[in-house]
């Protein structure tokens, strides 16, 4: 090797000749996602990692080094291995294991009727599917992947999109998490538009206490029924309910703590960074990205509207015992949208505490979206 060879090798090994405008733009988007997470507090656990992944993967040559597959005895890139958790659909159910262990379903058990509000909000999914396909001309798999944004549930969205149309994943995931963070801006106008002042002021009766036995039976019963109808949702609902079972037995505290902390936190880092590393300019800097963001916004709006409208119907039927606002919590985005309901309710009556009542549809929305995902997968996969 001559001296010049070494110098040339050193020069060529730098990344300067590999920077393009697309990459710079994507790095800006990565920085923007981090900014949204850090400065605005928008879903920081996810957006900071996604943004970091976007930023690093668009640095020159980083994509080959981080994501290159193993070849001829040489090991693959670090995130080629870590990313298998996304590609093999292992991470989203593991996140749900932790979510289940963190979720208290008692408001829903105490008032099962609110379950229906969690179903109504799935109009966000199916309405968006219709518009994505019939109006925007996406194909059925693309439409399903975009529609699931309306589920307002990260793991469900990622799981479904990976099965239907993996190349849309980064766009769909970023859109889903962004709108989940924007729930306090998106929902209130729709809620106010669709309800009267009197409806918003309805005070609801206190919830009955729920026994431990009921809390233990709940995950098993729901799991059995959901899987019976939509077997495709098994991994998602199964892990959600395993986590919840570990939480509620009262004798598996160690395991519940593991699901709530070490498992979900580690997986979140790896999942979100992997998703961020799929954000390349070829995938993201496209017209369809704008369409997907528009449709995602629509999905959240339709979901809110669906929930509130069924809430109004329930208010009517019960003679004003149900505050229609709680329907908006059916979109899930737990517990953010329940908080939004609470705050909008207190604008009319500061002594009205809707939070607990909104938690019912809120957690029901998680189950409803998983069922909807099962339906999408059954027909479109």
């Amino acid at each position: 090797m001559e001296i010049w060879d070494i110098i040339l090798k050193l020069v060529h090994s730098t990344g300067f000749e590999h920077i393009g405008p697309g990459q710079v733009a994507m790095m800006g988007i990565g920085a923007l996602l981090i900014y949204m997470g850090v400065a605005k507090g928008f879903e920081p656990l996810l957006l900071v990692c996604i943004g970091f992944g976007t930023l690093i993967v668009n640095l020159p040559m980083a994509q080959e080094i981080l994501l290159g597959p193993p070849e001829g005895g040489e090991p693959g890139g670090l995130f080629w291995y870590i990313g298998q958790g996304v590609h093999l659909e292992i991470f989203p159910p593991l996140i749900f294991l932790g979510v289940g262990a963190m979720t208290d379903f008692s408001p829903l058990i105490a008032n099962p009727w609110t379950f229906l509000l969690g179903a109504a909000a799935q109009f966000g999914i199916f309405g968006t599917f219709f518009i994505a396909m019939a109006v925007f001309g996406f194909d059925p798999q693309e439409s399903g992947s975009i529609a699931i944004i309306g589920g307002a549930d990260g793991p469900t969205t990622i799981y479904t999109c990976m099965k239907l149309k993996p190349e849309l994943l980064p766009t769909v995931a970023v859109s889903a998490y962004s709108y989940m963070a924007l729930v306090p801006l998106i929902q209130p106008p729709i809620m106010r538009l669709l309800t009267t002042k009197k409806e918003r002021a309805v005070v609801m009766k206190g919830l009955r206490p729920v026994s431990r036995t009921e809390k233990v039976i709940f995950p098993l019963l729901i799991l059995a029924l959901v899987v019976l109808f939509t077997p495709e949702a098994t991994p998602l609902v199964g892990m959600l309910m395993l986590g919840n079972l570990l939480r509620e037995t009262g004798v598996t505290e160690r395991l519940s703590a593991a699901a709530q902390n070490e498992i979900i936190n580690s997986v979140t880092i790896f999942l979100a960074t992997s998703v961020g590393m799929m954000m390349t300019s070829e995938r993201f800097l496209q017209w369809r990205t704008i369409k997907i963001f528009l449709l995602g916004m629509l999905a959240f709006s339709l979901a809110t509207a669906g929930g509130v409208l069924l809430g109004k119907f329930m208010c009517l039927v019960t003679g004003g015992k149900v505050n229609p606002l709680i329907g908006a919590a059916g979109v899930s985005a737990v517990p953010m949208s329940a908080r939004v309901v609470h705050n909008v309710g207190q604008e009319e009556n500061p002594d009205n505490y809707l939070l607990m009542h909104a938690m019912g549809p809120n957690v029901a929305g998680v189950i409803g979206s998983a069922a909807a995902a099962g339906v999408l997968l059954a027909v479109l996969k």
Binding site: P112, M133, A134, P140
Partner: protein
Amino acid sequence: MSEATFSTTFAFLGMAVVFTIILVLTAAMLVTGYMFKTFLLPGTPTGECRYQPSPMSDPPAEHVAVIAAAIAIHRGAARGEISMLAQEDRGPWSVGSMVLQCHGHLNVLRRTR
């Protein structure tokens, strides 16, 4: 079948299926709940002061919740139930049932960590 027909049909059918599933779930839970209330738990103890501030929980947030609850009860506005949710990141939360001086029934959403 055209794209428009397919998407309309599937949107309707999908929504119908999800509604059916959730209706079944609701029915199942109403039945279970009824059974529990009627046969299995005839005399659930009520009215006892179950609330104990956890030493692991964030003291000020807890405190704020209790004070807010006390004020609300004092005002007579909330008929036995008051709810709070700390403005924390979403995800780890839990429902703690708290009874304040046996005057009412309070639900508190607390951060689990």
